[in-house]
């Protein structure tokens, strides 16, 4: 039988985790609130939007800390990815040109759409009609083209 891993007997996180622990906890609480929020008066997909938004924010936070500010160590960054604090696939996309602000991976999944195209939120604002307000179905994004 495999050993039971609890919070107590787990390996400690790498150094520097204490610095970002509070912020991560805040994100966790927000996520929990979003999960428990009432669905009344919401569209079918709308329940998931806050979840997408918060995970995006959290991933972005960790991404910025490691790549932009260089404030956390590589070990800690990898540990965070491994423990699901950030979405590694999403971050991988952010490193690519044209995807710097990508909201979620679903929005660039062309095979899942009727016309084999990306989500409307990937369309640059100047190509949309004047005053056209969009909010995509998959994650509630209002536009994440790189030049917006």
């Amino acid at each position: 039988m495999p050993a039971v891993r609890t919070a107590k007997n787990r390996k400690p996180p790498p150094d520097g985790f204490e610095d970002i622990e509070d912020t991560l906890l805040e994100f966790q609480n927000k996520l929990k609130d979003a999960e428990n929020a009432s669905h009344e008066g919401k569209k079918k997909h709308e329940m998931l939007w806050p979840v997408f938004r918060i995970t995006h924010q959290r991933s972005r936070y960790i991404y910025d800390l490691y790549y932009e500010k260089e404030a956390i160590s590589k070990q800690l960054y990898e540990w965070l990815l491994k423990n699901g604090y950030a979405d590694a696939n999403l971050i991988a996309k952010w490193k690519k040109q044209g995807y710097e602000k990508l909201c979620c991976l679903r929005c660039i999944q062309t095979k899942e759409t009727n016309f084999n195209s990306t989500c409307i939120c990937r369309v640059p604002r100047e190509q949309l009609k004047e005053d056209q307000e969009i909010q995509c179905v998959s994650c509630g994004c209002r536009g994440c083209a790189s030049n917006d």
């Binding site: 107590k8 938004r53 972005r60 910025d64 932009e68 404030a71 909010q135 994004c141 917006d148």
Partner: protein, 596 residues
């Protein structure tokens, strides 16, 4: 003259209900996450469920009662887009208040301390504002006079012919000017009357509204001024406004059906200032201001998200104007200083900073022109602070996690409790959840400690003395204080085996029997030894390096030599071939055979 009732109301009646029109520009918009690219500033707060599709405007204009009303599109007006606070004039006697003039000649008052801005001048400031404006008028008149004199002088200097030619022209211009002026004054007068009527009507309609009285007062206060303003407008003086309340007169004029000629329409904004009643600025105006601000920042709301400091930006624009002070570098330095002072964690996200009210109301926050620069400075600061922290931590001595745990054990552990019981009892304690130590180690230490507590006291004492004598004189000597015992001692189980009462005399006795700390000479000796060792090491490395270089050089020379040999051989071979071919000549085979 058309009936005054036809005229559009100068301000929507609902607006009258709001005593002071938009006061501070800071809205409590909670969900100002910076980097939520896809999820722009329009996304509602995480808690609010209904907010999702509510507001699509890029900024969060205050939701006044006016919000539902059909509005004129002021935002598209180029004038609005460009209007900016231009100069601030202190009002003597009302210290924190300043009168701010915008680029297009509109006025509002601003309190530097509370940071509130009012289009409508509060009653207690009216006198000061009027004084200021009278001073302005005088100055303007002086200027005008000087200009006129100069023109006259110039005209006199012109040759007669030119004057004759120009006179007609001048007369025509004068005429048209006069006419325009007359027309303008008429229209102004008419408008004043209309405005008054409109005010009255509005007031009658909304008599039950709570500040109807104020409106009446405003109208009454205006009455004598109207006359004065109308009369003054006749002079065409540039600053012929009676009261400093801003009236959005231009649009009213437009609404009247463009009655005013182009000449008047394009006059300076100040020229058109006249009494339109206490017209309040509604949401539109705030909206265009915000829009202008955002243009200023050159940011989409999605990228920035820092909408709630638009207010601060706005304040700042004239803050800077009257300070004239801090250069960019200084501003940056001050901003960083502020970040340091507020103990901002470099690991906190940007929106956390924006939610920090202390910072938003700090004067240094407004030194930088917009949120984008602020963010850039903040990022730089974060980078440097994080790097510095990392360095400091690397330098700082690592505290053994066992020390606090052992201190805790010394206090709480008893042989009466098994480990699981002990663990359960103190599971909330911070030491029991310390990640660095690990549960297994904690358990082991506990069990060992309990086992040792069961030993006779003499044995434990002997162990402690052994431990003490095992420590080197550098760490433990006669000068060591009882409260700065070395870590090797503190992190040892034998140290806590005795209760503090029994332990302290033993330790102090032992310490007093020790020799003093090794002197500098001894320490120096050790240092010298280490130095020598290092020196040897270095020499060895240098030698190795030299040898390697020598070898490389030799190889190089050998290769060169071989190259030369090869070349020489090649040359020789070539020569042989050449000789052979030269020897043959072109005399033919027969000749050769004969000679051969």
């Amino acid at each position: 003259m058309e009936s005054p009732n036809k005229r559009l109301k100068p301000s929507p009646p609902e607006n009258m209900a709001k005593e002071d029109d938009f006061v501070p520009l800071n809205f409590d918009d909670e969900d100002n996450t910076t980097e939520q690219y896809g999820y722009g500033a329009t996304s509602p707060s995480p808690g609010s469920a209904t907010g999702q599709g509510m507001s699509n405007s890029p900024f969060n204009a205050p939701r006044g009662p006016q919000a539902t009303q059909p509005r004129r599109d002021h935002r598209n007006d180029p004038r609005h887009a460009k209007d900016r606070p231009k100069s601030a004039h202190p009002l003597p006697g009302h210290e924190p208040w300043v009168l701010v003039k915008t680029k297009y000649g509109r006025y509002f008052v601003h309190n530097k301390d509370t940071r509130e801005s009012l289009w409508r001048t509060p009653a207690h400031l009216k006198d000061a504002v009027r004084e200021h404006e009278q001073g302005q008028t005088l100055e303007a008149e002086k200027l005008e006079n000087a200009k006129w004199a100069e023109e006259q002088l110039k005209a006199m200097r012109q040759p007669e012919k030119a004057v004759a030619g120009r006179e007609d022209e001048g007369r025509n211009a004068q005429d048209s000017h006069n006419r325009a002026r007359r027309r303008r004054s008429e229209s102004l007068q008419r408008e004043d009357e209309e405005a008054l009527m409109a005010e009255m009507a509005a007031e009658a309609e909304h008599a039950e509204e709570k500040d109807a009285k104020d409106a009446v007062k405003g109208v009454e206060g205006l009455q004598p001024k109207t006359v004065e303003g109308g009369a003054e407008a006749g002079y065409g003086s540039d600053s012929s406004y009676g009261e400093v309340e801003v009236t959005d007169s231009e649009f009213e004029d437009d609404d009247e059906g463009g009655k005013e000629t182009a000449a008047t329409a394009h006059m300076d904004g100040a020229d058109q200032k006249h009494e339109g009643g206490p017209v309040e600025f509604g949401e539109d105006d705030i909206a265009w201001q915000l829009a202008a601000m955002e243009e200023d920042q050159d940011l989409g709301p999605n990228q920035d998200g820092g909408d709630d400091d638009d207010a601060a930006d706005y304040e700042e624009e004239y803050d800077e104007a009257d300070e004239d002070g801090a250069s960019d570098e200084e501003a940056v330095l001050l901003f960083r200083e502020m970040l340091d002072e507020h103990k901002i964690s470099p690991f906190a996200p940007w929106d956390k900073l924006l939610n920090n009210e202390d910072i938003l109301y700090d004067d240094r926050y407004t030194l930088l022109p917009n949120t984008r620069t602020r963010k850039a400075v903040w990022e730089e600061w974060v980078k440097e602070t994080a790097a510095r922290l990392k360095e400091e931590r690397a330098k700082a001595e690592q505290l053994d996690p066992r020390i606090p745990y052992l201190a805790f054990l010394a206090e709480k552990a008893t042989p009466k409790l098994y480990w699981p019981e002990f663990k359960r009892k103190y599971r909330k304690e911070a030491v029991m959840n310390e990640r660095k130590l690990g549960d297994k180690e904690r358990e082991k230490l506990y069990r060992d400690h309990i086992a040792r507590l069961k030993l006779p006291e003499s044995a434990r004492k002997a162990d402690l003395v052994n431990l003490l004598s095992s420590l080197p004189p550098r760490t433990l000597n006669r000068d060591t204080g009882l409260d700065v015992l070395p870590n090797q001692l503190l992190s040892h189980l034998h140290f806590i085996s005795l209760p503090a009462a029994a332990r302290v005399p033993i330790i102090s006795k032992h310490i007093s029997s020790l020799p003093p700390a090794p002197t500098n000479a001894e320490a120096g000796e050790i240092d010298a030894e280490a130095e020598k060792k290092r020196d040897d090491e270095r020499k060895r490395r240098e030698k190795a390096l030299a040898e390697r270089e020598k070898k490389v050089e030799e190889d190089r020379r050998k290769a060169e030599k071989e190259g030369r040999w090869a070349k020489r051989e090649a040359r020789e071979a070539e020569r042989e071939v050449r000789e052979a071919t030269l020897g043959v000549g072109n005399r033919g085979l027969r000749e050769q055979l004969r000679s051969g």
